[in-house]
């Protein structure tokens, strides 16, 4: 063997020692060093690709939780909003009936309180929910317009509010209060169904995590990884959605949804890679 050939073999063997999987060395021990290195590189690349693929698949699994969490938070928030404005209208109605406030005050408060409730629930939504809520610029009735509208609905199209009796005026105000406590039932029932779907996705995701933990060799480590990746996916999704919302401006639910998905996937992928 020439000096250069011996040196080449020595360097190849040195490189081989650095590999974690010693069994490859044993398998290919009878082959010349150059072919050994090629075989090891190819096998290692395959293994690396496989690991990356597994990571990507597991990150996508975490997206199920991300989507489930977003859907559950937004639909629950919507249903809570619906309950809250109904409770507000009932409270104002009972206060007016008890004589604590006048019906005119109740009607005025119903309009103002709803806007406050709306703002609170917008803040409680995910960035996707907020983008959905901001999708269209709204236009509301003034109290005078409401009074005119409800007077016409109750007492005919040519009715003038100032000509009504006190009890009729109170009936108009009461109608406004009750109207302020209603929300679109179609939206409510659609989001109730979505809420179930969101919880279903979370259950599926938990099932996959339990399976991953049960089939792993180191169950403690796998449980930690699943927990962190799931949390990172939800947190990354919310952060990604918020960043996309800033970038795309208000009322851009498609952009924010993409941001939430990408943010969740990157966060889950990052955590799993680090683990």
């Amino acid at each position: 063997m020439s000096v250069s050939g011996a040196l080449e073999e020595h360097l190849a063997l040195q490189r081989l020692r650095k590999f974690k999987h010693r069994q490859f060395f044993a398998t290919y021990a009878g082959f010349p060093p150059s072919s050994l290195v090629i075989a090891m590189t190819s096998a290692d690349k395959k293994s690396e690709d496989r690991t990356r693929f597994d990571l990507a698949v597991k990150s996508l699994e975490s997206q199920v939780t991300n989507i489930g969490a977003h859907v559950t938070i937004d639909s629950t928030t919507r249903l809570a909003y619906s309950r809250e404005i109904k409770a507000m209208a009932k409270k104002l109605e009972s206060d007016a009936l008890a004589g604590k406030i006048t019906w005119a005050e109740a009607a005025n408060q119903a309009q103002e309180t709803r806007n406050v409730v709306m703002e609170v629930f917008r803040r409680r939504s995910t960035p996707i929910g907020r983008a959905m809520a901001q999708y269209l610029k709204i236009k509301g009735y003034s109290l005078n317009e409401l009074v005119a509208r409800h007077s016409a609905l109750h007492y005919g199209p040519n009715t003038k509010f100032k000509n009504l009796s006190m009890s009729q005026k109170n009936a108009v105000y009461a109608s406004i209060v009750r109207s302020a406590g209603t929300s679109n039932l179609k939206v409510n029932s659609a989001l109730r169904r979505l809420s179930f779907a969101g919880r279903g996705l979370i259950v599926i995701s938990l099932g996959v995590s339990v399976y991953n933990i049960a089939t792993s060799k180191n169950k403690f480590s796998a449980a930690g990884e699943e927990l962190l990746a799931t949390g990172a996916s939800i947190g990354g999704g919310i952060a990604g959605g918020a960043i996309a919302g800033l970038a795309c401006g208000p009322g851009a639910p498609v952009c924010v949804t993409i941001g939430a998905f990408v943010g969740g996937a990157l966060a889950a992928f990052g955590i799993r890679s680090l683990w």
Binding site: R78, Y81, I85, Q111, E112, R114, N115, V116, M118, E119, R122, M132, A133, Q134, Y135, L136, K137, I138, K139, G140, Y141, S142, E145, L146, L153, I176, S179, A180, T182, S183, N184, L185, K186, V187, L191, G245, G249, P250, G251, A252
Partner: protein, 154 residues
Amino acid sequence: MPRSALILNGQPTGQVIDGAVLEAAIRWRDLLLAFVTDNILHEEALHIYLFDAQLNIVDSARLGWMYATGVFSLLNLCPPNTVRFRFFGDTDWTLELFDGDVFAIPFFQDPRGVSRPFRFHRRFQINGNPKPEPSVPTTGQPDVSTDRDKYHRS
């Protein structure tokens, strides 16, 4: 959801539509265009129906969105076949009526906030350039309509 039975000349037609308050009705040739709202103060939706002479629904559309509300006001009729109105989105909406069925791709040809039954033809097209809500509301109050002071309802 509020629904209404249609009565023609005092006789029930058996036709039931979504909505509670008839905001406007316009006769166009032998068809009738109706604008109906739900009367839900803070989440109003506008249903638009095109009926034939027997009050069968020829085409329909809905303007509505979660947490969004609007105030309907008819701006004007632009002969021969266009109606302009306002609702939400801080835009003037136009509704163009067609003589016959016109091919249309569902979802993609409708502005934001407009939904229609899934079909590949339509008898009217709604156009508008609705704007989103600003990210930070300045007063926490919705944009209160003053259109009714500015425009006459037909």
